[in-house]
Each structure stands twice: as C-alpha cells, then as structure tokens.
C-alpha cells in the first residue's frame, strides 16, 4: 500500500515542478571559442549571462554559440580549475582565454553534509586532490595520504602488499579505542576498525592485518577532504574525535565522453637488507660460543664446526667441516626470501555528462607481487558514479564500488618469542647461513627453513566488498534542497590458512588448517534538508538531517589438524583427525544501531565575517542505558581581514583570514554489548556427568549502564595568508584538544566477583602547531616550479588516569612474552616507554663481586657474569634488579612530522619530488631482541658478533654481551631494544613527459611517467625500516617493529592517456 501512496504525491510534485513559465524574448547570438593558457581549446566550458538565465557549453572544439537578450553586455565563462572570466561583448566572435586557478581558493571543500567554498572555510580542513594522491602510483588510498597533510600521521603496519595502515590525526586520543578517523565515502560513513577485514588466523601471535579500505582504488578518487579540528568534525558528533576523512569518488563532468586510461608497470625490491653472518663467520662465531661456554661455565659440548674427523654416534670416524670449509659457501637467506616483485596496475575510466546527468565508470585491476616469495596482493574492481536530472528539480544518483581483493600473505609480524613461530623474516635472519635450502626441520633447533617457510605455507585472505551510495535530491521553494541517501556496504572476508608438516607450526600437528571468515553489513539512511539564501550582504546556509545506521557483523573460525597428508591443504578440514586442536570453533554475531539528528548554520556577512555553528545529537546502541544519547555542539568564526579596506590598502596580503573554532566531539570505541551483563557457559559435573551452567562473565566485568563515548573538546585557531596574488599561501593552525572520559578497563575490587570493568575515566591532552606553505615559485611560459611544504608538531600528555582508579600508572599489553614497556602515567604521553637502564658490562669477576646484586651468589654465577650487562639503579638502591629499577626510557611519538613536495615543469616535462619524514620518535626493535636471545645455534646480526664484549679488549664501545652458548641470560628491557626511529624519506621521485599535441591528434593527452617510490630513507634505525607498526591501530602500542614485512623500493613506469 505504502508504495502506491507515493504515486499521487509524485504526480502532484511533477505537475508543480514542470509547470515553469518559459521565456520567449528577443535576443542576439554570440559566438566564440574558449582556450586555456597554452592555447588548447577547452571543451565543456560554461558560458552564461550574469544572471545565469542563459547558458551553454563549449563544444568539442571549444566553440560556443549562445542566444542572449540584446541588452546583454557581459558573458561569464567558467571552467573547473580555471579562473572565472567576464567577457565584454565588444565583438562577435569572441576569443576567451581562461587562466588556471593558482590556488584553490574558489574550489569547494566537502565539510560533511555539504560543501563550502574554500575561502569560506572556518575550521581546519585540508583537501587533497586525486591527481596529487595518484602521483606515487599508490596501491591504497590511505597510505597515499602520507605526508600530504599537516597533522595527519599515516603509518603502514609493515611493508606487505595490502597490509593494514593506521592513521592518526593530531595525536592519540584514547588508550583502548583506536585513533582511526571516521571515513566517509560518498556520504556514507565507513567504520574502518569495525569492518574487521582481517579474519582470525592460526595463532594469536600473528599481528599482520589487512587494510579494510583496500576495496577502493586510488585511481577512482576525485578528492579527499580531511577534517581535523572539532569545529569541523562536530557535525559527525560521537564519531568525530579522531578526525574525519571524506572520500569523494570520481564523477562525470559535463561535456563529451572522456576516456582516461592509466597503466602502471613496476618492479619492487626490498629497500634494505640486514647484515647477518655469512657461513664462515657463522661457523667461527658458533665455535666461539661453545668455547666460551666451556670457559665460563665448564660446559663440555664439543664445538660444532671443528674441521676435523670426529667419532659419530655409531662409532665411525667422519669429517665434520670447520669454518674454513664454508669460505665462499653457504646461503644468504635474505636473498632466498626476497625477490623482485612485479606490479601491474590498470585503470580505465569513462566519464561524461550533460544537462541530463553524468556518468563515470572505472574498471581497475591491480596485481602487486610482494618482495617476499609467495606474497602479493590482487584487486579487481568496478566503480561507477551516475547521476540523472529528472526534470529541473530532481536529481538522482548512485555511486558504487564492487571489488575483490586477494592477499597472499607470508607469516611476518609475529609477537611470539618462540622461534618455531618466528615467521619468515625472522627465520631468514636467524637460520644458519651454513645450511642450504633443502635442509629440513631436524637440522636446526626450532626454526623453519625460510625457503620452505615462504613457499609451503598457505595464508590467503580474500575480501569481497560492495559499497553503494544512492540518493535522490529535490530542489524546492527556490532555496531548499531535500536529499535522501541510502547507503549499503557489505564486506565478506575469508582466510584460508594451512601449515604443512614441513614447517614447525604444522609438524607436530601433522598439518594444521583453518577456515575463517568475517562478514560485515552496514545500512545507512540519511535525510538531509539544506537551505541557502543571499539577502543583501547576508549569506545564510543551513542544513538539518536525520540519519540511521545499522551494522551487522559476524565471524567464524574453525581449525583442524592431524591430516593424513598435505595435499588438500585446508579444503577438507573434516579429514583431520584432530578437530579444533587449540580452540573450539568460534563464532560470534553482533549488531549495532546508530541514530542522529544534526544541524548546521553557516552565516557570513559581506564575505568578511563568517560564523558556523553546528549541533549533533547521536544515539548509539552500544552506549550504556543511561547514556544512549549524546550532544555534540560546535562553533567557529572567521574573519577575512583581506577583504577589509584597511588591509587591502596595505597591499601586502592577497588573502588574510583568521579562524577560530571550538567543538565537542566523541569517539565510540565500544564494541557492541560492552555495557551489558553477559552470561557465559559455566558448567559443572554433577553425579558423574557435566551439567549445563551459566554465570556472569568474570572477564567481561559487570554491566555498566554509564558507559559512553570518549569526549574530546578542542580549540583551534588558524591563520590563512596569501601573498603576491596568492602565489604564496600559508596556513598556520594551533590547537589544543582535551579528551575526557577515556575508555579504560579498570581494576575493580575482586570482592565484587569481577576483576575489571570498562569505565569512562581519565583524560589526555593533545596540543600542537601545523604549518602548511604553498608557493608558485616560478611561473613562466615554459618553466614552472611550485612547492608545497607542511609540518606538524603534536604534544601528547596524559592528564589523569581518572578518579575511578587509585592506580598511579598502568601498562598497555605485552609486546612480546612478558614485556609490557608502554607505561600510562599522568604527565607522560601515551606511548611513553618504561624500562631498565644499562651500565656497561662486568669486566671481570671482581666487578661482579663488587655488585651487591651478586654479593651472595655462588662462584659459578660470578664466573659466568663476566662480560654480561650490568643494569643500573636509576631510582637509587642497590642489589638485585627489580621492577622498581625501571624508569622512562623512550617515547614513540614523533617531535614533528613533515612532507615536502616540489613540482617542476619545463615545456612538456614534469619533475616531482616528494619527501616526507618523522623526527624524534622511538621504535621498539623486537627483531634485535629476538635475534639476541639465542646464542650458539642461530644466526645473528653481524654486530652481535663483531661488536660483542670480548675478554681482554677495550669494551667501552661493546654493543653486546659476550658470545656464549647459554640459556640463562635474561635481557631486561632497556634502550638496547629501542632505537631512534627518525627518518627522512624521498618517498617519490617522478619524471613525466606529456606527448606534444601535434603528435597525438584525437587524443587530448598522453603522459608517460617514470617514478621511484621510497627512493632513499635517511635514518639511523638499524632494522629494515623505521616505519613499522606491528600492533596496527592499537593506540597504546604504536611503534613496534615485530620483524615485519620489509618496506620495498619500487620503480614504476606509468602511461596515462585521455581522449
């Protein structure tokens, strides 16, 4: 019934809307042609009268003919990216030359639920155009933003193709909640962390993750707008605290159909190799480790590489090789593991539009081989963007992305200290260089041969995504628009994993296979009413909207082991004799709902004084019963001083704008059902059989009806400058944001029957300064040089852990077995590191005896401690080293991050250099930790051999304790495993050539580009790359190098043509 009810309504509307009086008037015909600066004709330029009543577009050859009233004196010609021009009708056949817009002052930026002209922005919003984004031929949208926007820190979790990427805008706001911004794609919110693109794997230690935004092809991005401050993000209310990234996909533009083909071919190689011992050094080193074990502990094991005949177990005399036998032999396992990875990326876009609507179709295919054998990423995608004008007042449209992406992973980034779970990168470093690639498990203690490890293990994640945003927009009553949007977003991710018996993980289990999946479905409805009117000097824009969202998620994990052989891998889990060997099959389903009302008013007077106020009321199902709804207001002001006559008179500024904003935003780090009481299975055997029981979940904690969002209040003050007719512009923003009601799991009295509980408690502050400078340094006919620099400083400080807890400090989770160096304490940043301090080495037994810690130890202990690390008591005291001897030893937050782009063009050539970096941040190098633990049967970093403490030498610069095969050495967590992760990276260097127009007749542009990504990284970091983030989006544990997938350097050739 309801459907039919709409029909009469529709008919009525149409009658009203189409019944517009037609003008019938005398006129004259004006003709002309539109050119750009280089003399190329411009098709699709808009030519209209000043009152916009008469309008046409230039045709394929840039020509136009327009009938206008006889009285018309001036025509207005516009084209996207060009300065608007008024042309006096002094002659009939006009020649109009449009000049490119130098700055983007007249461009619009997307502010969420609408757009404003960039010059009218009152908050801190930065736009990155798709063209800029695609300069580096990126495989994913998020990492393409790295270094582009001041205050936006993008970190790849590791270098694996398709791997997760984390983004932090203006520092960390949360202990538990994640600092990922809200992504909004064509108006539909996309919850990056909730979409959970990484299905469960075998083993908790595997930290590698998949980027949920992989489904978007960067080639299909029109623009990305980053909303940084709360006055801008408050319109997204309870989800705005970490910033908002608004992604707009390509739409067709009015004019003839355009075809845009881009083909990129590339080859990637690992950017750096670590130095480990070659076979000769390894054998020598191992012998030394055994010799020292005899020397310091009286061990009796014979050296493993004697180079002499020895008696075997069966009593035969056989020759066992010595170091000299390995000269020039052995295996470089990194060479075995790493390869040149080929990348092919094709994207074809067809777009166009007319007064009836627009269309854009993109087909893309990406095949990116990883630099590690058997790893890679593939994506097939179709994107489309359609709009249709139905009559003059109704517009409908849809944009959609369908894609499948397949990630072939190899095991890297594992937090397990167990060598059997080391993953391929660590295996390649520690597997003895004396072995060859056929050597099996039994040869070496508990490391899998990296060649076999990489080649035999299956670990594939397949993601199928469907993203759809649909709208109908009705304009009515001249000033109003009503837009109804429906969004659907569906993701289905599966993991196939199999450890055959040729690797340690699968050996004792006789093959170990897994099927896991997660599904995620999101529905969104948004009703938006907008209003805009200019009354004299008063300009008012307003929006009001109501939205509703529902997200359903489910996941499943099933594993089995004990397979008769490895042939079927994980495709017949039923064949395994051991079902669910480690965990019972696990599945879960959740549903969250979200509703909001919002409104915003933009007012400006005479284009000088601008005011924006917004308000949003959000309700989320995962909030506690007492806080289902939250209010999020914002207010911002701007004063365009450059418009004032007294500033104009100074003749200095072409633009000068002062902005001030305040806003209150939230973040919803709560998983579904976090506030509820939960009953879990709690059986008990009665009378010989197990009886069903249920009890409150001890680990989930008691219900907390007060659980709510984390609230961030932020002030932002900004200044926009423009000089020399905006050839030099600068934006400076300072901000201070304070986040209160941090979500924490606090210890509650055990006498309540629970150990911990989620509460909102504690506060953290971020304050900072961001500067962005753009300049057109040179602009001449043949040569241009423009430069773009941004730098951001952020200081993070925990103000309080909250009144609900008397704990003065706490630690984030373990980064590896029993190591939890991340301390959270008032006055220190999230990401402060806590640990022990070293004080050289014990040079001799007298030095050991002199240390009260060893006062009562036996001779054997004293003897073996020579050449070992002495730890200090930075907090006073003496004796044994205890946890009270820890102190602050590092900070993973950078002092500043920056990006620097220079574009040069000379005639048809274009050269672009993009440098980005981070300075002052520490990185925990767990690769070093893992490699340093086992001495005498695994390979080590060269420094562990060359720079080890050696008896009788000057050991003041020794980097490592003595070489000895032992099992008792206990490294306390010290600066030894923390390094300065500062880096400056030449992220992209590209040289482009536009084929001369006279060579290509029917094609408007062909451009060939050669580029290098990650050309060079200046850093003191000793690992593969300082930009490693093993724990992904966990805000409390940034900056851990778990021995992740190394970052690659890639060389690309790209061809792009438009016709």
């Amino acid at each position: 019934m309801r459907r039919y009810f709409l029909i009469p309504l529709g008919v009525c509307l149409m009658l009203v809307l189409f019944n517009v009086p037609l003008y019938a008037q005398d006129g004259k015909i004006v003709t002309g042609v539109v050119f750009d600066e280089k003399g190329t004709t411009l098709p699709g330029a808009s030519v209209k009268t000043k009152d916009s009543k008469f309008a046409v577009q230039s045709d394929k050859s840039g020509r136009f003919a327009i009938k206008v009233p006889v009285s018309t004196k001036v025509l207005v010609v516009t084209f996207v990216g060009m300065q608007e021009q008024e042309v006096a009708l002094t002659k009939n056949d006009l020649k109009v030359t449009l000049v490119s817009v130098v700055t983007t002052m007249n461009d619009v930026v997307v502010v969420g639920y609408g757009t404003v002209k960039k010059k009218d922005v009152t908050g801190s919003i930065v736009r990155v155009d798709g063209d800029v984004l695609n300069k580096t031929a990126p495989a994913d949208v998020v990492s393409a933003l790295q270094g582009r926007v001041a205050g936006v820190a993008v970190t790849q979790n590791d270098g694996a193709p398709g791997a997760g990427v984390s983004m932090r805008i203006r520092g960390s706001n949360s202990f538990l909640g994640g600092t990922e911004p809200l992504y909004v794609i064509d108006g539909v919110p996309f919850n990056n962390s909730a979409s959970n693109a990484t299905p469960a794997s075998l083993g908790d230690d595997e930290k590698q993750s998949i980027n949920p935004l992989n489904f978007l092809s960067p080639a299909d991005i029109e623009s990305i707008d980053v909303l940084k401050d709360a006055s801008a993000t408050a319109i997204y209310g309870s989800r705005g605290a970490n910033g908002v990234v608004i992604i707009t996909t390509k739409k067709g533009k009015t004019g003839n159909d355009k075809v845009d083909l881009s083909v990129t071919m590339g080859v990637a190689q690992v950017a750096k190799k670590l130095h480990v011992l070659n076979a000769y050094d390894y054998a020598t080193y191992t012998n030394l480790a055994y010799t020292n074990a005899t020397l310091y502990e009286g061990a009796t094991a014979p050296i493993p590489f004697p180079g002499a005949k020895t008696l075997s177990a069966t009593g035969d005399s056989v020759y066992t090789p010595g170091p000299a036998d390995y000269i020039g032999k052995g295996t470089d396992w990194q060479d075995v593991l790493f390869r040149s990875g080929l990348t092919q990326n094709y994207s074809l876009n067809v777009s166009g539009g007319s007064s009836a609507g627009s269309h854009s179709f993109t087909f893309n295919y990406l095949n990116q081989d990883g630099v590690i054998t058997n790893s890679g990423f593939r994506r097939y995608g179709v994107n489309f963007n359609l709009s249709r004008n139905v009559g003059k007042f109704i517009k409908i449209g849809t944009s959609g992305a369908m894609s499948q992406s397949i990630t072939h992973g190899v095991k890297t980034s594992t937090s397990s200290s167990d060598d059997a779970n080391a993953g391929v990168v660590r295996a390649a470093l520690s597997y003895p260089s004396t072995q060859d690639r056929t050597s099996d498990l039994s040869s070496v203690f508990f490391i899998t041969n990296p060649y076999i490890y990489a080649n035999d293990v299956l670990n594939k994640v397949t993601s199928k995504n469907l993203f759809s945003s649909n709208y109908a927009e009705i304009s009515f009553l001249k000033y109003f628009k009503f837009k109804q949007t429906l969004g659907f977003n569906y993701a289905y991710n599966t993991r196939d994993q199999y450890y055959p018996r040729t690797v340690y993980e699968g050996r004792s289990k006789q093959g170990w296979g897994l099927k896991a999946n997660d599904q995620w479905a999101n529905f969104m409805s948004e009703s938006l009413l907008s209003f805009g009117e200019q009354i004299g000097k008063h300009n008012i824009n307003a929006v009001a909207a109501a939205t509703y969202e529902r997200t359903d998620a489910s996941w499943l994990r099933y594993d089995a082991a004990g397979f008769p052989n490895d042939i079927n891998k994980n495709e017949n889990l039923g064949a395994g004799s051991l079902q669910q060997t480690l965990a019972a099959p696990y599945n879960n389903r959740s549903s969250t709902k979200f509703a909001s009302f919002l409104g915003r008013i933009n007012y400006n007077y005479a284009g000088k004084y601008l005011v924006t106020a917004s308000f949003r009321r959000d309700g989320a199902s995962q909030f506690g019963a007492n806080h289902k709804w939250g209010d999020f207001p914002s207010f911002s002001l701007a004063w365009k001083a450059a418009e004032e006559s007294f500033i104009k008179d100074l003749n200095i500024f072409s633009d000068l704008k002062l902005r001030f904003g305040y806003g209150q935003v939230g973040s919803v780090p709560l998983p579904a059902y976090a506030s509820l009481d939960k009953l879990t299975v709690a059986n008990y055997p009665l009378g010989g059989s197990v009886a069903t029981g249920y009890a409150n979940d001890y680990y989930a904690g008691p219900a907390n009806p007060n659980l709510k969002w984390e609230t961030t209040r932020s002030f932002n003050m900004g200044l926009d400058f423009g000089f020399f007719n905006n050839r030099l512009t600068a934006t400076v923003d300072v901000y201070r944001k304070k986040t209160v009601d941090l979500l924490q799991s606090i210890t509650i009295p055990t006498s309540t029957g629970y150990a911990s509980m989620y509460v909102n408690s504690g506060s953290v502050e971020n304050k900072g300064l961001e500067i962005a400078i753009q300049g057109d340094v040179v602009r001449s006919k043949d040569f241009t040089w423009n430069t773009n620099f941004n730098i951001a400083f952020n200081r993070n400080k925990i103000l309080s852990l909250g009144s609900d807890t008397s704990v003065k400090q706490q630690f984030a989770g373990n980064i590896s077995t029993s190591y939890a160096p991340y301390i959270q304490k008032a006055g220190h940043p999230i990401g402060a590191l806590y640990g022990y301090v070293e004080d050289g080495y014990y040079e001799n037994e007298a030095a050991v005896r002199a240390d009260p810690a060893y006062a009562s130890q036996g001779e054997a202990i004293i003897k073996r401690m020579v050449g070992e690390i002495r730890y200090a008591h930075p907090n006073g005291g003496s004796g044994a080293i205890t946890t009270s001897d820890r102190t602050f030893i590092g900070n993973v937050n950078p002092k500043y991050t920056f990006g620097f782009t220079n574009n040069f063009s000379y005639k048809n050539w274009e050269l672009s250099v993009f440098v980005s970096g981070a300075v002052g941040n520490d990185v925990i190098n767990l690769t070093t930790y893992f490699l340093s633990r086992n001495v005498g049967y695994q390979n080590v970093l060269s420094s562990m051999y060359n720079d080890a403490w050696t008896a009788g030498k000057d050991n003041r610069n020794a980097a490592w304790p003595k070489i000895e095969k032992q099992s008792w050495r206990n490294y306390f967590f010290s600066r030894r495993f923390i390094e300065d992760g500062s880096y400056v990276r030449i992220k992209n260097l590209s040289l482009g050539y536009n084929l001369p127009k006279n060579l290509i007749k029917n094609i408007s542009n062909i451009r060939v580009t050669a580029s290098v990504n990650n050309l060079y990284t200046f850093t003191h970091y000793s690992g593969y790359d300082p930009e490693m983030n093993g724990f992904g989006t966990n805000p409390a544990m940034y900056g851990v190098d778990l021995g992740g997938y190394p970052v690659a350097r890639s060389f690309n050739m790209a061809l792009r043509c438009n016709f």
Partner: protein, 555 residues
C-alpha cells in the same frame, strides 16, 4: 520568502524528522546473539538450574579446588612435607610468593557474586515457570554458597566486606567501596546464610535434593555446626597439647584466643554446635563405611559417608591434577606432597588409615614403585601384598592415597602401570569437603567442651577410630586431654583434606606448633610469623576498594 513558504518548510522538516526518529528508544536497544543476557535468562526452570550450576562451576577453577584454595592451606601445617618446589612458598610461610595467593579471595567472592545474582533473579520467578521445590532448592544452594564463602573468608582473612547484592543491583554510593566487617559480623552473616540454606534445602535422601554432588540440608547443618564449633574453639581460653616439635613429643600450649573471637561465648556456641551436629547424626542420612579402603573408591563417590565432595567427570574437561600433586602414584613418579614421617608415626600400627591409605616411595632399579617404610618393612613384607626387595634409598615418604582412586588412573595397588594417563597427567579424583566422620568428631569435641570427657564424647570418638581398626582411645582422659586427643584424631582422619591448618588456627596454637618444629622434614621451613595467621588481602582489592585502607597485620 513569503511566510506561507516557511510553513511548508516546517512541515517538511518535522515530517522527515518524525519518520526517521520513530521509536528511537527501542531502536537503540541491543539484541545479543552470541551470548545470554541476564535480562532474558531467568525464564524457565532449566535456566534457573543452569544459573545455580554456574555457581558450582566456580569451585572447579584455578581460584578454588583446581589448586590455590587448598594449596595455600594444606601446604601450611605441621603434618605435611613435600617437594621444595611445591612447598617452598605457602608451605614455607611465604604465601605471597605463590602465584595463586589472591585466588581464593577471588574465588570465594565469585561464588558470592554468582549466588547473589541467583538469589536476585530466581526469587522473583513465578510458580508458572518453576516448581516450588526446585526454586526452594536453588535458593537454598545459593544461600549455602554465600554462607560457605563467608565462613572461609573470615577464617582466612578475618572480617571481610559483606556483599549480599550483586554489584549491578547495589546502587548504593559504596557499591564498589565496601569496608571490612568485623569478624563477628562476618560470622553472623555466615550463620544466617547457613540457616536459610538449611530451611530451603532438602535432605540427601529426598529426591528433590537433585543430582549427587549438590549441597543438601544435612550439609548446611554440618557447616552450621562447624561454624559454631570454629567460633567456640577460637574463643575458648585454656590449654591444648599437640604432638610435634622435632622429636615428635607432646607439647602443651596455652592457647591464644583468636583475634576477633573474644566476644563469643565459647560454651554456648559449643552447645549449638553439638545440637546441630547431632541433628545430622540423627537424620540417619549418613553413616561410615566399615572399611577405610572403601571410603575413597570410585564406587563409593558421593556415598553415604560423604556430605559433600567436589565433583569431576572423566572424559570431560572437568579433570584435575589432585592425584599427581597429592598422591605417590602419579605419572610424574612422585607426588608433590606427603604426610610427615612424624605424623605417620602417630598412627597405631593397626590403623587402616595408613595400612590402606598410605604408600611409600621406593626407587627400584627399573623404575619407581612403592613400599612401606623401612621400619615397618618386616610387618608388611609378611602380608605378601607388597613387593619390597629391601633396597631403600633412605628417603621414605608417606604418600596419602586418597586421591589415587581415579578413573584415568590404573589403581592396581603397587603395580605402577599408569595405563590411561600417560598423556594428560590428569585424573577425575574427587575432593572431599565434609565427611560424616567430621560430624562425629564435632559431636565429640562439642560434648567434651560442654560436659567434659563423657561417655558420649568417647562414644563418638570411638566410632571414628573403630572403623579404621585403631586401638581405643585411652580411658580416663581429662577435658584437656580429650580436647588434645580429638585435635590429633582429626589430623589423622583428615590428612590432606584441608582441615589441619584451620584446626591449628581456630585452636590458637598454629604459631606455637609450627615454630616448635622449626625446620621440618625435607628441609621445609615451618617457622611462622604472626602475620601468617591470616592471608594477605589481594593488592588489587586494596588498590580499588577505597574503603579498605590497610592490609592484614604484617602484610
């Protein structure tokens, strides 16, 4: 714009807001799919039963009977010895260095919290969904667990916070921050809970009492009696003799009045204890097995002598390591704990509690098996039952075999074939919590304190001793002699049943007895400080419960 236009706008705005906003309140309610929410759980009899089963579940955890609950107390008395790695912590007076030191607190309060939830939710269930008997039993079980938990908390920690509401239901300002009650207040709660349990529960013989392994009316009475008895003995002023020291002599100590028990009327509570224990005796629901060797057999689990045992189930995840830790006959070759040779010597030569209940380790050339101690070798060789080739490694250890009767364990006396448990090392041994012999000895003890060493006292003592073929207790004992004798008898009867330390504490002689030994067998330190009288309150509780400002003395 004309005024009328604004009307349309207003109409349109309110229209779409209304459509989107309809029933928002309901919209934001959460629907759980993969777990149960208490809100919709208490809707059937079966679910109410599942809820009370969930309380029992806590017993079988690493908070309570999977180890810490008994480890902290059983390793810490004068009658046990064991491996240094096992007794080096709580067994040496250093409970805080044992990993499980905080677990009994957590476990007992978890029992309380779950019981609170059951009481809050089941009490209101209508008779249309649950029959009166089942409801009564469930409520009785919950009251029992609260009483049982507070009874143990007060003995282990002194006065503790009283929580008789779940933390979700407790809306008072002091929800989380509950101060410690006094010892007397805590006992009052335990007594009240046991009384309610007694009224609501059914006797073991009544089919309405449910499956074997549930708590019953008789058990509630027995624990009520034990509570009175504990209060009475703690408050008593006088002396008691304990066999011990380095030379295994009898030493008479003036007992301490236990801190916090000063106000209790010892005699009155002993009278209450006697009456309540006699109610159990007179119910006729329980009796002793005539042979000690029958008591712990698999066939007699939950049998007539057991008021309550912690259950397990072979082939399920509910299996434990009791036999491995507490019995010689384990796949590890040796148990971690055994009775001291001194204690062993206090048994009569005819006492089947050692003849049938203790084995001794012997290292044979081809492996490990067991025999009686060298000084008794002649006696037991002649029986022909035991293989003793006379080789003695000089390390006699008296292993108590109570926990060896387990399905996963091949229980052929001294043949050491562990057919079924080579892989797991686990067993389905039960843990006895209250045996009928304890009820009998409670009657004897209470009678002695109320009326002196009367024939009645002798009679109940004799029932326990006769069953294990031990010689009769010496006649003509004074009240103090009888008191001392019963304490020792409890030690012999309940070896490794988690009773002895509680007895030493309630009699106020724990410190004297332990320090008299100094260093015990196998070099286990028995030296104790006053702080050892109570366990430390967990640091996490002190950190988070602002109403508790200090730990127990010395911690």
């Amino acid at each position: 714009m004309k005024l009328s236009n604004y009307k349309y706008v207003l109409f349109a705005v309110s229209g779409f807001l209304f459509i989107t906003a309809t029933s928002c309140k309901k919209t934001l309610e959460e629907t759980p799919y993969s777990f149960l929410s208490p809100g919709n759980f208490y809707t059937s009899s079966a679910n109410a039963v599942a809820a009370i089963n969930g309380v029992y579940n806590e017993l079988f955890t690493y908070d309570l009977y999977q180890q810490p609950f008994w480890n902290l107390t059983m390793t810490d008395d004068d009658h046990v010895s064991g491996a240094d790695w096992y007794l080096g912590n709580a067994g040496a007076g250093n409970p805080q260095s044992y990993w499980g030191v905080d677990r009994p607190w957590a476990g007992l309060y978890t029992l309380i919290a779950r019981s609170n939830a059951v009481l809050e939710n089941v009490a209101g269930m209508s008779t249309s969904v649950i029959d009166t008997a089942t409801k009564s039993r469930i409520l009785g079980e919950a009251h029992f667990f609260r009483g049982w938990s507070y009874f143990h908390l007060v003995q282990l920690y002194g006065g503790v916070p009283i929580r008789l509401q779940s933390v979700s239901a407790d809306t008072s300002a002091s929800g989380f921050n509950k101060p410690r009650a006094t010892v007397a207040e805590t006992y009052a709660v335990a007594i009240d809970e046991f009384k309610q349990a007694e009224n609501l529960l059914f006797s073991a013989a009544d089919s309405r009492s449910g499956e074997k392994g549930r708590v019953t009316k008789g058990l509630a009475k027995a624990f009520l009696a034990k509570t009175y008895l504990t209060m009475a003995s703690g408050a008593l002023q006088g002396s008691i003799a304990v066999i011990g020291g380095a030379n295994n002599a009898s030493y008479t100590y003036t007992k301490d009045v236990v801190a916090g028990y000063e106000g209790f009327d010892s005699k009155a509570y002993y009278q209450l204890a006697k009456d309540k224990a006699l109610e159990v005796v007179n119910s006729g629901d329980y009796s002793l097995y005539s042979n000690w060797s029958d008591v712990f057999t698999i066939a007699n689990r939950n049998g007539k002598e057991f008021l309550w045992e912690i259950q397990s189930a072979y082939g399920s995840s509910f299996v434990n390591n009791l036999h491995a830790y507490l019995s010689a006959r384990s796949p590890f070759g040796t148990g971690a704990m055994w009775m001291t040779n001194n204690h062993y010597k206090t048994y009569d030569a005819t006492d089947t509690r050692v003849l049938d209940g203790v084995t001794h380790q012997y290292q044979a050339n081809w492996g490990t098996y067991y025999y009686y101690p060298s000084w008794q070798a002649a006696q037991y060789n002649s029986s022909g039952t035991y293989n003793n080739d006379g080789k003695n490694d000089g390390d006699d250890k008296a292993f108590v075999t109570k926990f060896s009767y387990a399905t996963s364990f091949n229980n052929d006396q001294l043949g050491t074939q562990y057919a079924n448990n080579n892989i797991t090392g686990t067993s389905d041994a039960f843990f006895p919590v209250m045996r009928y012999s304890e009820v009998l000895l409670m009657v004897a003890e209470a009678e002695n304190e109320v009326n002196g060493a009367t024939a009645t006292a002798y009679q109940y003592l004799a029932m326990v001793r006769n069953r294990c073929k031990a010689t009769a207790a010496p006649g003509g004992m004074s009240q103090q002699d009888m008191r001392s004798y019963i304490l020792e008898e409890r030690g012999r009867e309940f070896s490794l049943e988690n009773i002895r330390r509680y007895d030493l504490i309630r009699w106020g002689v724990y410190l004297q007895v332990m320090n008299k030994i100094g260093t015990g067998q196998n070099s286990i330190s028995k030296v104790r400080l006053p702080r050892n009288l109570l366990l430390p309150i967990p640091q996490s509780e002190l950190n988070s419960n602002k109403a508790i400002t200090r730990n127990n003395p010395g911690w």
